[in-house]
Amino acid sequence: MRYNGFSYLIGEGFSNIFKNKKSTIISIMTMICTMFLFGIFFAIGVNVNSVLEQVQLKQGMQVFIWDETTEEQKQKLETEIKALDGVNTVVFKTKQEALDTFKTMMKDKEKFLEAYEGENNIFPASFVVTLTNLEKNTEVQDEIRRIGAKIATEGRNQEVDLQIEESTQHDSIIKEITNSDVVIPTLIKIVKGIRITIGVIFIVLLIISITIISNTIKLTVHARRKEISIMKYVGATNGFIRWPFIIEGIIIGVIAAVITLLIVGLLYDFVIQTVESSEVLQKINITLLGFTEIAKTISIVYAVLGIGIGIIGSTMSMKKYLEV
C-alpha cells in the first residue's frame, strides 16, 4: 500500500479540534441548537403523520345490503371488496349487531326497540370498510357499487327459471353506501397541509444550519488563513489543506449529533408520556410513537445532517482562502 499521509490529515483534524477549543465549542453549540430544532420538528412531524394515518385507517364507509341477499352473494361481495386497491379492512355487521348498536345509542328507549327483535328487525346488515388511503374513497365506493350490481345480475342469469318474487328484484345487492363526506375531504386537506408545512420547515432549518455552520467554519478558516497561506507556499495541494478542515467539520457534526440525540431522546419520552396520558388521546384511542420507534430514523437523519453540514460547511467556507 502506498503511504498517502491520510493518517496525518486525520490527526490534524483532531488536533485542530483541541487547539481551537473556543470555536469548536461554538460550532458544536450552534449545531446542537439547529439540530435540536430539527429534532423537535422531526418528532412532531412523524407523530402527526402517524396520528393522521391512524385516524385515516379508522375512516371508511358502511356498505348496507338488502335483506334478500344470499349467503353466497355476501361472501362474494366481501372477497371482491377485500381485493380492491386501497381497502384496509372489511368487517361484516349482522342485522342483530346493527340493532344492538342502535340500542346502545338509544339507552332509555330500549323497551320500545324490543318490537324490532328477530323477524321484525328492520336494520340492514352491512360491511364496514376502512381504507388505507383516504384519497381512494370515491374510487373504492364506485368500485363497490359496480361489484354490487354485477353480483345481483349474475344471480338473475343463473336462476333465470326460478320464481323470483317482485320485491326481491333489486338492481344491486347493495342498498346504500354511507360515509362521512364532510370528514374525509377535510382530513385529506389537513394531511396534505401538515406534510407540506413540515417539509418547508425542514428545508428552512436545513438552509439555516448550513449557513450558520459554514459561517462558523469561515471564522475558523479566517483565523487560520495565515496557516493556510504558509501551507500553500510549502507546496500543499488544495486537497491536502482542505482535508483537516473537512475532518474537523465531520467530527464537530458527529459530536453535535450524538449530544442532540441524547437530549432529544430524554426529552421525547418525557413529553410523549405526558401527552399520551391526556384524556383526549385516550378517548380517541390513538397512540404516539415511542422513542425507540423513531430512534433509528432520527439517528440516520442526524448522522447525515451532521456529516453533511460539516462537509458542505467546511468546503464552502474554504473556497476563498485557497486561491493563493
Partner: protein, 224 residues
C-alpha cells in the same frame, strides 16, 4: 534553472512593477536581487513562485515554461523550491520539529523518512536542542533558521529568499548568510532579495539590480 524572457508585470492597479526583465540564473548559482524599496524585488520573487502571473513574457523554471502552468500544478512547482521570508512564516501552534515535518507530510513522505530527515536538517541549522520549542519561544534568528530548515527538508533544487535577514540584527543576519552559503556550496541554487548592503558587498556573489522594475545591472561578482 531560472530563466526570465522579456517578462513584464503590471498589477491590476496599473503599477508596472517589472518591465521587460530578461536574465538567467544557472544551477548552483548564488544571486542577490537588490534595489530600492518598491523597485520590484518581491514581485520578481512572486513571479518565480507563481504567486503572481506575468503580464508579458515567459518564465522557465527547471527547463519547464511555467507561464501557463495550471493552478493545480502550482503546488508541485513550489515543492521544487524552498521559500524563506522576512517574517519567518512559521505555524505558531506547532513545535520546531512539527513545523519542519509538516513540509514533509505535504509531499507525502513516509513516517520513517520524516523521522530520519527532520533531525538531520535541524542539526544542519544548529537547532537540534530546540526541536520541542514553539516559535514564540525562539529568537528571530532561531525562527529564521527553522524556516530555512523547513525550506531545505525536501531537498529542493533552489532556495528562494525574500529579505531573509530583514528582521534580524547584523550578527544574526550573518548566521543565516553563512548557512545559505553552506547550502549553496552543496549545490543548491540560491536567489535572495535584500536591502543589506554590507552583506552583498562581503559575499561577492552575483548581483542583479532592479530599479523601478527595470534590470539596470547584472554583475557576476558585484557589490551593492
Amino acid at each position: 534553472m531560472i530563466e526570465f524572457k522579456n517578462v513584464s508585470k503590471i498589477y491590476e492597479t496599473g503599477t508596472e512593477a517589472v518591465h521587460d526583465a530578461t536574465f538567467t540564473i544557472d544551477k548552483g548559482e548564488f544571486a542577490f536581487l537588490v534595489g530600492t524599496s518598491g523597485s520590484g524585488k518581491s514581485t520578481l520573487i512572486k513571479l518565480i513562485l507563481k504567486e503572481e502571473e506575468a503580464t508579458k513574457g515567459n518564465i522557465i523554471i527547471n527547463s519547464k515554461d511555467i507561464t501557463f502552468l495550471k493552478a493545480k500544478r502550482i503546488p508541485y512547482l513550489r515543492r521544487s523550491m524552498g521559500v524563506v521570508f522576512q517574517d519567518f512564516r512559521l505555524l505558531p501552534d506547532k513545535t520546531v520539529y512539527e513545523n519542519v515535518a509538516f513540509a514533509m507530510y505535504i509531499v507525502k513522505a513516509t513516517p520513517k523518512h520524516i523521522r530520519r530527515n527532520v533531525p538531520m536538517v535541524l542539526s544542519l541549522v544548529g537547532l537540534s536542542n530546540k526541536a520541542r520549542c514553539y516559535p514564540n519561544e525562539l529568537s528571530g534568528g532561531e525562527q529564521q533558521r527553522v524556516a530555512l530548515a523547513r525550506a531545505l527538508v525536501n531537498n529542493p533544487s533552489m532556495i528562494i529568499a525574500d529579505e531573509p535577514t530583514g528582521n534580524l540584527d547584523p550578527e544574526t543576519a550573518w548566521e543565516i548568510m553563512n548557512l545559505l552559503n553552506e547550502i549553496n556550496a552543496r549545490g543548491t541554487t540560491v536567489v535572495m532579495a535584500t536591502h543589506a548592503k554590507d552583506i552583498v558587498n562581503k559575499m561577492k556573489k552575483r548581483v542583479i539590480q532592479i530599479d523601478k522594475g527595470i534590470i539596470v545591472r547584472d554583475d557576476k561578482k558585484g557589490g551593492y
